[in-house]
Amino acid sequence: MFGYMIKRLIQMVIVLWAVSVLVFVMMSFTGDPTFMMVPLDATDEQIAQARRILGLDESHLVQYWRFLSNIAQGDFGRSFVFRQPAMTLILERLPATLEIVFLAMVMALLVAIPLGVYAGANPKKPASRAVMAGSLIGISLPGFWLGMVLIFVVAVKLQWLPSSGRGPTTEWLGMRVSFTSWEGFRHLILPAITLSVGTLAILMRIIRAEMVEVMKQDYIKFARAKGAPAKVILFKHGLKNALIPLVTVFGLMLGDLIAFATLTETIFAWPGIGKLLVDSIYRGDRPVIVVYLMFVALMFVVVNFIVDVCYALIDPRIKIK
């Protein structure tokens, strides 16, 4: 187990390094940030000076080395637009994103598990087919478009919930969060629903497929034969085993949620890291884009590491190579 963890840790470092190379290459061969910094009527001398300040006058190798050593020291550069350390910007906006991602994940699990189990345990029933058709629609629709429909129906027409923004926030564990007040929570609902639909649909299909497999196993037959009540068979023997593979898709799920949060946050003007990324892309604010990518890469790598270790712990049948 220990050797396995060490091996995975080394892999993590390699992945992060590869991402840093990729990010650096993409960023340095596409466009020149100098013109973001200097006024339109800048003289050649001013431009040259700006390039020197940005370190662009040196070779790419030197630039990469500086980029890497800065990152290692926790210096990710300053935003061209906000004139603040890019990492600070990300960390400031992270709680807002985590909030909708977390709520979306809870919603997805709460809906997907019961429906998936039902559809998997009774694959032939019409209701199960309806569940599957619904999940296929959920996969097929653009999530951001669903968000717009919700805004139009729930916020503009019915005026039940606010259409955009984050609402009041309070301090909680050193983060600014909005779920603590009713008004703040009301702002959370629509973005979280929008974000959860795609994940919910995929999750439902995975759980159903797992459940179908599990219900064919001998231990289910045995439980039936010994006369265990249907409920016990379904939840104690079936669900428990069907949920194990869910651990492996957790990392994937989180990745999708973070990715689609860029769209959801844009629609709902939700001040999270996704909207920050999109705004930074518009403004050509390169340091923020770089930090976002490195940060998200780190997050995925760490989560996948934890997931793998948990999986190995939960399911002793998995032999670690």
């Binding site: 992945v15 590869a18 991402v19 993409m26 960023m27 596409t30 058709a133 296929l136 629609i137 996969i139 097929s140 629709l141 653009p142 951001f144 478009w145 669903l146 717009m148 429909v149 805004i151 139009f152 503009v156 259409s163 990745g255 999708d256 973070i258 990715a259 689609f260 860029t262 769209l263 844009t266 629609i267 990324l277 999109v278 892309i281 518009y282 884009i289 990518l293 998200v296 890469a297 995925f300 790598v301 996948n304």
Partner: protein, 305 residues
């Protein structure tokens, strides 16, 4: 594949007959969702090919636009006119005509990018699986790293580096889409190269290139049909997301996603039809593709059923 020689009519007919008598077609006929899915996809193909001839205007020919007809609601609502079934946008563009032209761009992007990703991924997968060794390790590690990132995010990042444009959208989609082919093909190539017929081809002294193309390739293609079908839908969705964020196709070549974005700006004024209808069409298209993909998966990869 276009054969250089004309296929004799009798053979062609017998091939068709064989197809209609096959188990595949038998299952297809009995599968309501498969039929529905293919009808939807077929409908879209017809719409994008002959639709531009039927709709009343070319929404991107400024001379055909009538500003007086701007923001007309759909025909069945008060103030709507039968000339514009699904209403008009702020420039007096017919929403239905925009959707016909937009579906064309969305579908072309989906299909071309799928073709590119399939070609690239299959080639790399064949190389990795057949030759193994260091090349295999490098290709597969790149694939692993890429898979740890969600495709939308990778594509968004690539577009932010490249800038907008139809060609760049294609490059971005191909760069995120090749991995799944490479993995599938590599896996089946590894299995196939163990089999006697490849060994026999090797022993008989055929060059590797010929073994790969003539013997291995045909035997690893079947699972790709499913992947490719579903990927067209995925690509349509990713492209829509990119265009919605303003880093996809240019405004002169609006896809369905860009139409939604344009409509979003006026949604709060209650002009819902400009954005809601293009979204419905995306949903319908991808739903049809997924229905078809599900059926193909059950038929061609029964292991996954």
């Amino acid at each position: 594949m276009v054969s250089s020689q004309p296929i004799p009519a009798t053979r062609a007919r017998s091939r068709m007959q064989r197809f209609f008598a096959s188990e595949f077609f038998h299952n297809y006929k009995r599968n309501l969702s498969a039929v529905l899915g293919s009808l939807i996809v077929l409908g879209f193909l017809v719409m994008v090919t002959i639709g531009p001839l039927i709709v009343s205007q070319n929404p991107y020919d400024v001379s055909q636009l009538d500003l007086m007809a701007a923001f007309k609601p759909p025909a069945w609502l008060a103030g709507g006119s039968s000339e514009y079934w699904l209403g008009t946008d702020g420039q007096g563009r017919d929403v239905l005509a925009s959707i016909v032209y937009g579906s064309r761009i969305s579908l072309i992007i989906g299909l071309v990018a799928m073709g590119g990703a399939c070609l690239l991924g299959t080639t790399l997968g064949l190389i990795a699986g057949f030759y193994g060794g260091r090349l295999d390790a490098v290709i597969m590690r790149i694939a692993d790293i890429q898979l740890s990132f969600p495709s939308v995010l990778t594509a968004l990042f690539l577009m932010s580096a490249f800038g907008t444009g139809l060609d760049k959208v294609l490059i971005a989609l191909i760069s995120v889409g090749w991995v799944v082919y490479a993995r599938t093909v590599r896996g089946s190539t590894l299995r196939e190269t163990q089999k006697e017929y490849v060994q026999a081809a090797r022993v008989s002294g055929l060059p590797n290139r010929k073994i790969i193309l003539r013997h291995v390739l045909p035997n690893v293609l079947t699972p790709l049909i499913v992947v490719a079908t579903i990927q067209v839908g995925t690509f349509v969705l990713i492209e829509a997301s990119l265009s919605f964020l303003g880093v996809g196709v240019p405004v002169t070549q609006p896809s369905l996603g860009l139409l939604i974005k344009n409509g979003f700006d006026v949604l709060f004024s209650g002009l819902w039809w400009v954005s809601i209808f293009p979204g419905l069409f995306i949903m319908l298209l991808v739903f049809g593709i997924n229905l078809l993909g599900d059926f193909l998966r059950d038929e061609l990869n029964p292991r996954l059923k």
